[in-house]
Amino acid sequence: MLTIDMLESVFREVFDDENISLSRATTANDIDDWDSLTHMNLIIALELRFKIKFALGELQSLKNVGEMQDIINKKLFRN
């Protein structure tokens, strides 16, 4: 089961900010540096970390930490 803490460590690495703290309600609007560009870096980092692959149609939903957690969990569980 993927926890928010595990996501948090990826976020801190990608955005280079140790103060980021996430909740399921966090969205791209809450983190200043989270734009279309860094979103892709985040996606790639998540793909590498959890050895999964996101479909294009999932990318918009990933701008919300709650949905991100659900989608990744589903992929990890299926594998």
Binding site: D35, L37, M40, A55, L56, G57, E58, L59, Q60
Partner: protein, 489 residues
């Protein structure tokens, strides 16, 4: 049929809604959905029934391919590779769009390059083709990637043709739309949604009929002017078009979302006060939001992934290319490509600025963004690049400055070498032109947008009065036919 026509507001919309909910009430869900589909196809055919077979074939073709892709993923049976099927289907969709939208542009370019004299085909662009093509391309890609769960033809056809969004968006995603037609609570007339939907619809109608259409004659006269425009009319021409486009397209989108709500179907909000943006990144988060989402997902990401390595530089290249393609999607002409390119450059500069963590006072950031966007729309509106340069020369003051005759008495203006005369005659304007432009500027910068206003609406007397006022005002002013700008794209 236009949203801003009496036949739509007084007949088509109420009839489709009453019959739809009456059928739902009798638990004839499938019949109700068929009714909505037929109504949408009727709405589409109102202009020209000739293109009805085109949209039907497009829907059936894409549905069949999407179904095959999903089925092959499920069963694992593969006579032909799924990738080849996807590529074939993408080529078919893009080919269709090229044939109807870009053929003459390609022929013209070929003629210019090779000096040949191939005749133009002068094909008429079928309404909404740009929109229903990209909506379905997204569906195909999702089917290929295993994201399509629902395979109901009726829901699919309704998702593509649902008349509020069919002609000019918001660009929808099947995953958000298709399940909505089956949700139980959506099948019952919801008075609250109807009230909010009406409110948003009439806000949109007001924006279109009262605001956008007021600017239309000035923008049209300015852009068609053969005389060189002096400083003030040149600026008023470009500002008039920027306001016309914003109020026209966001008004249309409000109406679409409003109608959706009346049917208990939630469509995405397409505009969030874009002219308040203080940067190009911010602008695209607020302008035509559903297109930004589409571009980021289905254009920017694949381009970026095609690079071997994802770095800051490759991201910027991907952004620029995406905006260039988006410009070309808007229209077959160099002016649109330049418009896309300008926005690409704007975004690239903004990202570099952000990465370097430079700062700028927010007023200056807004001022630069607004003017950059305003200038980019000169290319968007002009028929030729030459025409755009012609207007920009006027805006730069290269054709001199003329002020109103009444200002001639002010000594320092007279000594500054300015000329005086019928200053706005070249754009068929009068004092209303500059007063309205300044007012519109203040409204777009300081006022709440329609979605924010609707969020504050309560079932109270004064809100109802406001609704009735704007509704009747718009209805009485709606005496001329005026199409939405985005229908040409």
């Amino acid at each position: 049929m236009l949203f801003n026509s009496y036949e739509f507001i007084l007949l088509f919309l109420p009839i489709t809604m009453i019959v739809y909910f009456a059928l739902q009430r009798k638990r004839l869900t499938i019949v109700a959905k068929c009714w909505l589909l037929l109504a949408s196809l009727f709405f589409y055919s109102w202009w020209d029934i000739k293109y009805l077979p085109l949209i039907l074939c497009s829907i059936l073709f894409n549905y069949a391919i999407g179904g095959a892709l999903s089925e092959m993923e499920r069963t694992g049976k593969r006579a032909v590779s799924r990738k080849n099927i996807l590529i074939f289907a993408l080529i078919a969709n893009i080919g269709l769009l090229c044939w109807f939208k870009y053929m003459d542009f390609f022929i013209l370019t070929a003629n210019n390059v090779t000096g040949s004299h191939l005749p133009l085909l002068r094909i008429i662009l079928p309404l909404g083709i740009s929109f229903f093509t990209i909506t379905q391309i997204a569906f195909l890609i999702d089917a290929y990637e295993g994201l399509v769960k629902e395979r109901n033809l009726l829901n699919y056809a309704l998702f593509v043709t649902f008349y509020p969004h069919l002609l000019a968006g918001p660009i929808l995603h099947h995953k958000d739309m298709m399940p909505q037609f089956d949700r139980l609570k959506n099948k019952v007339l919801n008075w609250k949604n109807l009230y909010f939907g009406c409110m948003l619809f009439f806000f949109g109608l007001f924006k279109k009929v009262i605001i956008a259409d007021t600017f239309t004659p000035w923008a049209t006269a300015g852009f068609n002017s053969l005389e060189p425009l002096t400083l003030v009319p040149a600026w008023l021409t470009s500002l008039s078009y920027t306001f016309q486009l914003y109020f026209d397209f966001s008004g249309y989108s409000d109406m679409a979302v409003g109608i959706g709500w009346m049917f208990n179907i939630s469509l995405p909000i397409n505009f969030n006060s874009p002219l308040k943006a203080s940067g190009m990144i911010d602008f695209w988060k607020r302008w035509h939001i559903s297109l930004t989402n589409f571009i980021t997902t289905y254009l920017y990401t694949p381009i970026l992934r095609a690079f071997q390595k994802i770095t800051f530089t490759t991201s910027l290249v991907a952004i620029f290319l995406s905006m260039l393609i988006s410009g070309f999607w808007h229209g077959a002409g160099w002016t649109y490509i330049i418009w896309g390119g300008l926005h690409g450059v704007g975004l690239v500069v903004n990202h570099i600025w952000k990465k370097k963590k430079y700062r700028m006072p927010s007023f200056i950031a807004w001022f630069l963004t607004f003017n950059y966007v305003n200038v980019s729309f000169v290319f968007f509106r002009s028929k030729t690049v030459g025409g755009a340069m012609h207007l920009l020369a006027g805006m730069a003051g290269l054709n001199g400055v003329m002020l109103d005759k009444s200002l001639e008495k002010i000594t320092f203006l007279r000594n500054a070498g300015l000329t005086f005369g019928p200053w706005l005659a070249s754009i068929e304007g009068n004092d209303k032109t500059w007063i309205f432009s300044i007012t519109a500027l203040l409204v777009v910068v300081f006022c709440k947008n329609s979605a924010e206003l609707v969020a504050r609406v309560r079932p109270q007397f004064h809100w109802l009065m406001l609704l009735l006022c704007i509704a009747f005002w718009s209805l009485f002013e709606m005496n001329k036919v005026s199409e939405f700008l985005y229908f040409q794209f």
